[in-house]
């Protein structure tokens, strides 16, 4: 009988139920979309922040003090310490290896750049005063666990633009800085450099060529535009820079771009003061400081420093955005709850006659209340489910439009939405239901 009454109520007034259900579904759709986006946004934005480039820099511990002004190191070529390239695949073995999204080693030296081979007798007169940067463009690294990983300077310094193509890491190719390219002699004579032209590099006399080595002849593949000091440099594969600098299998500086969790008050404490439990928590959270610590363990003899302006700027902006979205979600939740509550209150208020009739026929207040509550709950589950589906579609659209990737549907959101739908409808109907249970049937049936 109970089920029959409920079924009858749905069948008899389909339009009313549809409207209440629609309000519910729309409200829960808002909640689902907003919740899904807010849950997902941290990870997605953290990836966007990697467009700021590396947030960690690794240098040799025993290094002499760099004399760096405006991005150019004025130390003599032979000063300072170097690090072994062979250790680099170990970076992808740390606890948070999946969070290391890119790294690129750099080795700098100075060279003489020419567009034609310099006659041997003129060699002693040339000056190796051009900056040369050796790095990886898109290096495939074999990892200790058998996999491979592709990384390079394009990912750690995304603002470097190359007109043409990056060099291949295993080829005799190079990329010239914009300003350097336009200052080469043939440019002044009106002959433009083309891709595929040969560039001759002569290493510093103290390192190499006086002992009889020939110039390094490289094919030009692109012009680099950074608006920084690199516009005056020539960029070559790391292996070639190692030969020119006389530093086989070594590098000087490593840039690492890692996905991190913004540092909170806990992470800012000195890691030496942690209790063992706190230490574990710190170690197992992708804070930038714990990733730096783990890298230092893997690369002995290094000094891993956090590039503060990138890391802290990111943390600050990310925290704000996340909070903002949670507030938008909260506001959406509030509005949806109120509107849905209002809608279910309305549907109870209007059923006074029916309630009066049921009571006149001998139903107790409890039975009537239970019956109506069951109806509302059924509506809440159906409406909430439909709303969840609607919200997921919306969140997908939103995610794909903005980040190019849809957020994963999550069971937590589903449970929250269904619970919320049930809670809101019951709360919305509670007050009118309580009033209804106090009705005297006779005046209602008389229409008073």
């Amino acid at each position: 009988m109970f089920l029959r009454i409920v079924a009858d109520s749905f069948g008899r007034r389909p339009r009313h139920k549809l409207l209440t259900g629609a309000a519910l579904a729309l409200g829960m759709g808002v909640v689902t979309a907003a919740l899904s986006v807010s849950l997902d946004v941290g990870d997605r934005l953290a990836k966007e922040f990697r467009s700021l480039g590396a947030n960690l820099v690794v240098t040799p511990q025993a290094d002499s003090l760099p004399l760096e002004i405006g991005g150019v190191d004025y130390r003599p070529v032979n000063a300072g310490a170097y690090l072994p390239e062979a250790d680099l695949p170990n970076l992808k073995t740390i606890f948070w290896h999946n969070n290391i999204i890119a790294f690129a080693p750099q080795l700098e030296t100075s060279v003489a750049v020419s567009i034609y081979p310099i006659p041997v007798k003129e060699l002693p007169t040339i000056r190796a005063d051009r900056r040369l940067i050796g790095t990886w463009s898109a290096k495939t690294i074999a990892l200790p666990d058998g996999g491979t990983f592709v990384t390079g300077i394009g990912k750690t310094n995304p603002w470097w633009r190359v007109d043409g193509q990056w060099f291949k890491d295993d080829a005799d190719e190079c990329v010239l800085g914009r300003k350097l390219a336009s200052s080469l002699p043939n440019f002044a004579q009106g002959i433009k450099l083309k891709m595929g032209d040969t560039i001759y590099l002569y290493a510093d006399s103290s390192v190499d060529w006086q002992s009889g080595a020939r110039p390094m002849a490289l094919r030009l593949t692109g012009i680099l535009d950074t608006d920084g000091a690199e516009d005056d440099a020539v960029v070559v594969p790391l292996a070639i820079a190692q030969k020119l600098a006389g530093r086989p299998s070594q590098y000087r500086k490593l840039y690492v771009s890692a996905l991190t969790k913004p540092e909170d008050a806990f992470a800012k404490r000195d890691s030496k003061t942690f209790t063992p439990a706190e230490y574990d928590r710190w170690f197992c959270t992708p804070y930038i400081s714990s990733i730096a610590f783990q890298i230092q363990q893997e690369l002995p003899g290094t000094d891993v420093r956090v590039i503060r302006k990138v890391a802290e700027g990111e943390g600050q902006v990310l925290a704000r955005v996340r909070m903002l979205l949670w507030l938008v979600t909260g506001a959406a939740l509030l509005a949806a709850a109120l509107a849905v509550g209002a809608s279910s209150a309305a549907s109870v208020i209007e059923r006074r006659t029916e309630i009066g009739l049921m009571k006149a026929l001998g139903a107790g207040s409890g039975t009537v209340g239970f019956l109506l509550a069951a109806e509302q709950l059924l509506l809440a589950f159906v409406g909430g489910g439909a709303g969840y589906a609607l919200g997921i579609v919306l969140a997908r659209l939103l995610g794909e439009k903005i980040f190019g990737a849809a957020p994963e549907p999550s069971w937590i959101v589903f449970l929250v939405v269904i619970a919320l739908a049930a809670g809101v409808t019951i709360l919305g109907s509670a007050l009118p239901l309580r009033r209804a249970s106090q009705y005297e049937p006779a005046p209602i049936l008389r229409g008073e």
Partner: protein, 392 residues
């Protein structure tokens, strides 16, 4: 005639009053739905406009985004520009103040008489004493850096790597030497940025100029320009026109990264707010329509005693508009407080209320209310008698 119209009007408003007052439960429900919608609309619209502006100021945390250097420099690093260049830079933008810092770099011998150690390092003379980016690792309050009192002599900030290599302690005296010129300073604090600042000693601009014997010269000017990516671009273009003798370049790592992030965040915010507003509107409308559909008895009665459908509908639309206006005003008022509170919670500063937002929120609410009363038009075809018999 005029008399009849006046009577009509009086009757119209009387019916409206009765319609509104007849069922207080229903009135409350409608106001709740409309008010909630209006409050959220006002809050989100206000926050959305404000948040985008505030976000650009958050980007300050990334430090300088524009660099001014002598033309054709960076190959030798020895060119300088006149200090007065900094005075030509326009600093008041609609989006906020531009922070300007002039620096003179010099490679100098740094030694600690107390420890007997020395090495050569880059000494950066800045005015004002450097943007304090990164972590200042000392107990000295930052303010003491900015206002060195004469009695203490010159202070300097040592990068952490300089400090480590020399074994520096707080308050130690440093001697900076370039050629036969000497400057003394006391280490006020250390700082760690992960950038080249870690390898430097920072000192006042005047001291660096004395050290290099280059009075009135600087090597570079760093700017923190607030604003949207478009505003920063046009500021740089203006600056390049204004200062043709120097090289004005964006620090692309930050200008491009900021632009990308700003576009993503503002897109996200706009889309989220739009979807929330749209669905909230629909949701309120569905709730209101539900209430309106319950009025068929009233419609039936009015038709039975001779009301034309047009007049009946006008009555109900007027009722809905009134409700929308009242709910909208209450909701918008609540929205003012909500957005002030939320703005303070997110950005630490109360969102500046945009006055245009509130009439907009009220208007939207009225429109939603009227739209949701429209399904009553479908009752035009019903016959009063069948309503009363309880058939329809």
């Amino acid at each position: 005639m005029a008399d009849r119209r006046a009577t009509n009007r009086a009757m119209f408003w009387r019916i409206i009053r009765r319609l509104l007052g007849a069922n207080r439960g229903r009135l409350f429900v409608m106001m709740l739905a409309l008010g909630a919608g209006a409050a959220v609309t006002a809050t989100l619209l206000n926050l959305q406009v404000d948040a985008k502006r505030r976000l650009t100021t958050e980007f300050r945390a990334f430090g300088p985004n524009v660099l001014i250097i002598p033309k054709g420099s960076s190959t030798t690093g020895s060119e300088t520009l006149p200090e007065s260049t900094a005075n030509l830079i326009p600093v008041n933008l609609p989006s906020g103040r531009v922070a300007v810092s002039s620096t003179l770099y010099v490679v100098a011998g740094v030694s600690v008489p107390k420890l007997g150690k020395s090495l050569s390092a880059v000494v950066a003379g800045s005015n004002p004493l450097a943007f304090l980016i990164g972590r200042v690792l000392s107990s000295t309050p930052e303010t003491s850096l900015n206002r060195p009192t004469p009695s203490q002599g010159q202070v300097c900030v040592a990068g952490t790597r300089v400090a480590k290599q020399m074994g520096l302690q707080q308050d130690m005296e440093l001697v900076l030497a370039s050629g036969d010129r000497r400057e003394w300073c006391r280490v006020a604090s250390f700082r760690q940025t992960g950038g080249p600042e870690d390898d430097r000693v920072e000192i006042g601009l005047r001291a660096a100029q004395r050290l290099t014997d280059l009075p009135g010269r600087i090597s570079a000017i760093e700017l923190i320009v607030p604003g949207t990516p478009g505003e920063i671009q046009s500021y740089i273009a203006d600056l390049q026109r204004l200062l043709p003798d120097v090289d004005v370049r964006p620090i692309r790592q930050f200008t491009e990264g900021e632009a990308r992030i700003y576009n993503r965040i503002s897109g996200l915010l706009t889309a989220t707010v739009a979807i929330v507003l749209l669905l909230t509107g629909l949701c309120v409308m569905a709730a209101m329509t539900n209430v309106a559909m319950e009025r068929r008895m009233d419609v039936g009665l009015m038709k039975a005693i001779g009301g034309s459908m047009r007049r009946v509908l006008r009555l109900f639309l007027a009722e809905a508009a009134l409700l929308g206006l009242a709910g909208g005003i209450i909701g918008a008022a609540a929205g003012i407080f909500l957005s002030i509170g939320l703005g303070r919670a997110v950005f630490g500063v109360a969102a500046r209320p945009r006055l245009i937002v509130y009439p907009l929120a009220v208007a939207l609410t009225v429109i939603v209310a009227i739209l949701s009363a429209f399904p009553l038009r479908r009752l035009a075809s019903i016959r009063p008698a069948s309503v009363f018999r309880g058939e329809a």
